[in-house]
């Protein structure tokens, strides 16, 4: 447990009531944020002059279904932030979401670049982003029903490829 990451120190001061959990592995700091406070925390990270996390580097999700010894909610969102102007070390925010409430605030109002990354997470994991301007599938096709990066989706697929209707000239 380290809290010498500048963002962790500041967040603990500012959001002490949320009891944010800070974890560190291989020198990289991850901070667990409750889903309902995400926008608030990220706005603070972005607008604080010494932290200045002005670049949303990556948005992704991990499905922890049957992960050995897992005691948190099934889906873990991963938000990676870079601080370009202020030069702070990289910061990763985690939000854990259960299957029942698989929705979270979109970061598009704060970072325009979140748009496609969140669409990909929606496509691959089925996480809904509240306030996203255009939440459609992006990598798979429109009629696709599954969320392929979930752990209960088999690597070989569910036969979508084999059973896809073949169009000929007459029916097209």
């Amino acid at each position: 447990m380290t809290i010498d990451h500048p963002a962790a120190v500041k967040l603990k001061e500012r959001f002490g009531h949320l009891h944010l959990k800070v974890a560190s592995f291989r020198g990289q700091t991850q901070i667990e944020v409750p889903g309902e406070n995400l926008t608030q925390v990220v706005t603070f990270l972005r607008d604080d002059s010494t932290l200045g996390y002005d670049m949303l580097c990556d948005v992704t999700c991990v499905d922890y279904l049957n992960y050995p010894g897992w005691d948190k909610a099934r889906f873990g969102m991963v938000y990676t932030f870079n601080s370009v102007a202020a030069g702070q070390p990289r910061l990763i925010l985690r939000v854990f979401l259960g299957e029942a409430q698989l929705a979270i605030d979109s970061l598009v109002p704060l970072y325009a670049g979140a748009e496609w990354m969140e669409r990909e997470v929606f496509d691959m994991f089925g996480v809904r982003f509240r306030g996203h301007p255009d939440l459609r599938r992006i990598l798979t096709w429109d009629g696709f029903k599954s969320h392929p990066l979930r752990k209960d989706y088999p690597v070989t697929g569910l036969g979508e490829r084999e059973n896809y209707p073949v169009l000929d000239r007459d029916s097209a």
Binding site: R26, M55, V62, T80, A112, W116, M117, D134, V155
Partner: protein
């Protein structure tokens, strides 16, 4: 039946959220650009809404090349996935490996040997040159200047020769391994090859391209002020690499989060990080991105020059006598212990395992920050291996860049972003 916007972006059935609406103006018409079009280079489809020649709105539709790379990562072990990583940004396969091994070695807690770091740095820079040569050449090709493309491609051929010598494969190298490399390289052959390339042929080719394009009136007119993006917008859209630096975002992973020989004390004996400058421009248009890429190639030459004469000896792999990495092929074929160790590593019920944990590792590749978020449950294969693909993130800003420009500018902007569909769709 005429192609309509509704058909192009039809919605997922169970998605209650917004849908792009056709504009109210009746004189707009819709043009389907791609998925198969010479100027998209690969399979990308853009649905353009046009007012005469002007683009009013653009909706990119991607995914034609989606092949489940990230799902495959969950069944392949850390070395096997190297072959797939190669196939993401196929303009610089060798540089993709560097980002993957950096992420995985961070996870394993392995520090590569100085010799390995030097080789990786040199090959990573060769990868950058390889990608920039094609991007600069193809950007000109799309605007009608064919010769620059050939100048660039000639030099790419020489890089193929070098990586063929290093890895045995001209294109998809799969040379790196966790903790080292597939095989050691003979300096006596590698060094003269690289020296000839960076001292003789490449500077001449860059010079030729510059002479052809930098003052060419047609090229300047077609690129200046086209697809501009401001510094604040570039940051907000998460752009990285040459695209961001052409807009004045001072960020380079090699400087901000250094790795390999970009880090001070990389050899454990106080060696200084390689010295290079990060080119920066403020205009953020197609021309700026072209100029930044040209300058980056020159900086890459400077980086290679600093390292090529001081490749340290010693082992390429971490602890070649230990059980962490694959043994050298001479031992595998020449001794029973080597053979046993080899099979211990590659068989499905044996092999090496990282600790459970999650890391993000990235490298500055030619297109920008290529990162991998690797989750391990302590097993032989990653639990999840997310790619942060620069092409994907750069394409998301394309509609904004080409708004208000003409159809012919779409091609110029697309070329300057260097979109690689295999990485875009994974």
């Amino acid at each position: 039946m005429p192609y309509t916007m509704e058909k192009g972006v039809s919605l997922l059935v169970d998605n209650p959220l917004t849908t792009p609406q056709l504009s109210a103006e009746s004189n707009l018409w819709t043009l389907n650009f791609g998925p198969q079009h010479p100027a998209t280079h690969t399979v990308i489809r853009l649905v353009l809404e046009l007012d005469g020649e002007r683009v009013v709105r653009c909706v990119p539709i991607i995914g034609y090349l989606h092949s489940g790379f990230e799902k495959n990562a969950e069944v392949l072990d850390y070395n096997q996935y190297m072959t797939i990583v190669n196939r993401m940004d196929y303009l610089e396969p060798i540089a993709n490996e560097m980002a993957w091994v950096r992420a995985v070695e961070t996870l394993f807690g392995v520090d590569p040997t100085p010799r390995c770091k030097v080789y990786r740095t040199i090959l990573g820079e060769l990868g950058r040159i390889q990608s920039h040569l094609l991007c600069v050449g193809a950007a000109a090709l799309d605007l009608g200047a064919f010769t620059a493309f050939l100048f660039g491609f000639n030099e790419r051929e020489r890089i193929y020769d070098i990586v063929e010598y290093v890895s045995g494969s001209r294109f998809h190298t799969s040379w790196s391994r966790v903790g080292g490399a597939m095989k050691d390289v003979d300096d006596k052959i590698f060094v003269p090859m690289v020296k000839k390339f960076i001292d003789d042929t490449l500077p001449k080719a860059i010079d030729d391209i510059e002479k052809l394009l930098n003052r060419l009136r047609i090229f300047i007119d077609r690129t200046q002020g086209i697809g501009s993006i401001s510094t604040a917008e570039a940051l907000s859209w998460s752009l990285s690499g040459p695209v961001a630096r052409a807009s004045g975002v001072m960020r380079d992973v090699r400087k901000d989060d250094p790795y390999f020989c970009f880090e001070n004390n990389w050899d454990g004996q106080g060696a200084a990080a390689v010295d290079f400058k990060v080119p920066l421009m403020q205009t953020g248009d197609v021309l700026a991105r072209y100029l930044v890429r040209l300058e980056e190639m020159k900086q890459s030459i400077a980086i290679i020059r600093q390292l090529i004469d001081r490749i340290p000896g010693g082992p390429m792999n971490v602890s070649p006598e230990g059980k962490d990495v694959l043994p050298p092929k001479s031992q595998v074929y020449g001794s029973i212990e080597g053979l046993i160790q080899h099979f211990e590593m590659v068989m499905t019920n044996r092999g090496f395992t990282p600790p459970a944990g999650e890391v993000y590792g990235c490298c500055e590749t030619a297109n920008g920050e290529l990162g991998y978020y690797v989750v391990s449950d302590g097993g032989k294969v990653p639990w999840r291996a997310r790619t942060r693909p620069p092409s994907f993130i750069h394409l998301s800003v394309l509609p904004k860049m080409i708004e208000g420009h003409t159809v012919s500018d779409v091609v110029a902007v697309l070329g300057s972003l260097n979109i690689i569909a295999a990485e875009l769709d994974r």
